[in-house]
Symmetry: C2
């Protein structure tokens, strides 16, 4: 019923009991073969995998099972999919430091990638609950919102919503917003940052965010929220960043760690 060319172990039964009892399970066994192929370079980076139906034939399994395997590999970050186009081997992750502001373009270039940014829209909105909680403002308040999608080598990996009070940066919406907003704030409005707080939350995306990131609804993602304060400690703005879970690696360097508490 299955039969991978040489499959670790050798035997491997022609009905599913064989494999089940064998201790490994169909999913795990096929998965490890695919893992080896990807890591071994048989499927090259950026290349499309054989179609689901083709792989079903090769491994003699059903599409549901094979789909499950591909999703697990996607969860691991080894492969990703494009709607109705196929499954592809993931490029190496983009290294991101949430503590350094406004470095997307520079950082991507330093990593040898080609970054690009698209502004989805700019508008005045009623602050969503999550943003109210972050900024510590009452519900129902009106905020300016910039929505952008940032890509690496043509692949969308980040969707950002940027919120701030509409009167803080007058005329901002008329500018070119596909560049570093932090730079604009500093150079045009003379704004300097003080303290920042960020959160990292594993979550799932759906609806338009999923569409913009070209992932299927319900896929895992990494939500990074950042709240910026001015030098006088007042809250100035915040970001909601939805990263493709397979495309990012967060890395932070802490010069001096905080002291130990005396009790624990």
């Amino acid at each position: 019923m299955k039969k991978l060319p040489e499959q670790e172990g050798g035997e491997s039964a022609n009905t599913n009991e064989g494999m089940r009892k064998g201790g490994m399970g169909r999913v795990k066994s096929i998965k490890s073969v695919l893992q080896d192929r990807i890591r071994g370079g048989i499927y090259e980076m950026g290349q499309r995998l054989p179609s689901e139906r083709q792989l079903c034939l090769e491994f003699e399994t059903s599409r549901v099972t094979l789909h499950e395997i591909l999703i697990q590999l996607e969860t691991e970050g080894l492969i990703y999919r494009e709607e109705r186009r196929g499954w592809f081997v993931s490029p190496t992750r983009f290294v991101y430091n949430p503590q350094s502001r406004g470095h997307f373009t520079l950082s991507a270039t330093q990593q040898g990638r080609t970054p690009s940014t698209v502004v989805i829209d700019t508008r005045i909105v009623t602050a969503p609950p999550r943003v109210c909680a972050l900024l510590d403002i009452p519900e129902g308040q009106q905020l300016a919102c910039i929505r952008r999608v940032r890509s690496i080598n043509g692949r969308a990996i980040l969707y950002v919503e940027h919120y701030f009070s509409p009167d803080v940066f007058p005329g901002l919406f008329e500018r070119d917003l596909s560049v570093s907003l932090t730079e604009l704030y500093r150079d045009v409005y003379g704004f300097d940052y003080g303290r920042m707080t960020y959160q990292i939350i594993p979550t799932a995306v759906s609806g338009d965010i999923a569409g913009l990131l070209r992932v299927s609804s319900g896929s895992p993602a990494l939500l990074v929220t950042r709240v910026n304060h001015a030098r006088d400690e007042s809250v100035r703005d915040c970001d909601l960043e939805y990263w493709r879970h397979d495309a990012v690696l967060i890395e932070v360097d802490v010069a001096n760690s905080s002291p130990l508490p005396s009790d624990e």
Copy 2:
């Protein structure tokens, strides 16, 4: 885009066309009903959901489809499962700051939870490739390894592997290792930390790690790696922390953000 009350109460299509053409898709529509029930408190925190088969009957769908929905809710962090016991509404996330060392127990207590730690084993191992890369040592070197599982209110949420050079902390394995290791290092060995680097990588767990965290193989997880340096910049030890993706929220406060570069 929402569907909700009248959908589920009312006719909810007894064949799939009804719902498909409706524009929402069966999965999304059922999912949003369940989301509302969880957020609305109809299913209470920590409580078990009705069984998969029962929900299939209620929503007139198949188990594969319903299972897919539950997995998406799990990915969002709303629910979690226990092997062959059922699906449960997730407690609120544990807030974790990777920059503050050795605070698990204290931090959990402050958050009103009951923490516990179990030492899986202690041994001398050949450093795995990932650890070699982190510590910047050649492959094949022997390192001391402590493996622990940490729980909140009886639910395992973190699996940690701790690596260091065997000769740095003599006699450590004979001590009680279910407490803060950082404290031990400081109080017993007079060790003080300098710089630290941490990485956060969305990944998947399988095998024994999945078993110890009581999640099914292939589930998403958050891998947090931390490399500790001594005051003289030499590398001292590192952690590989595998967090249940639905149980943790990383929060960091940065007193002074790094300066902007002049070019971007």
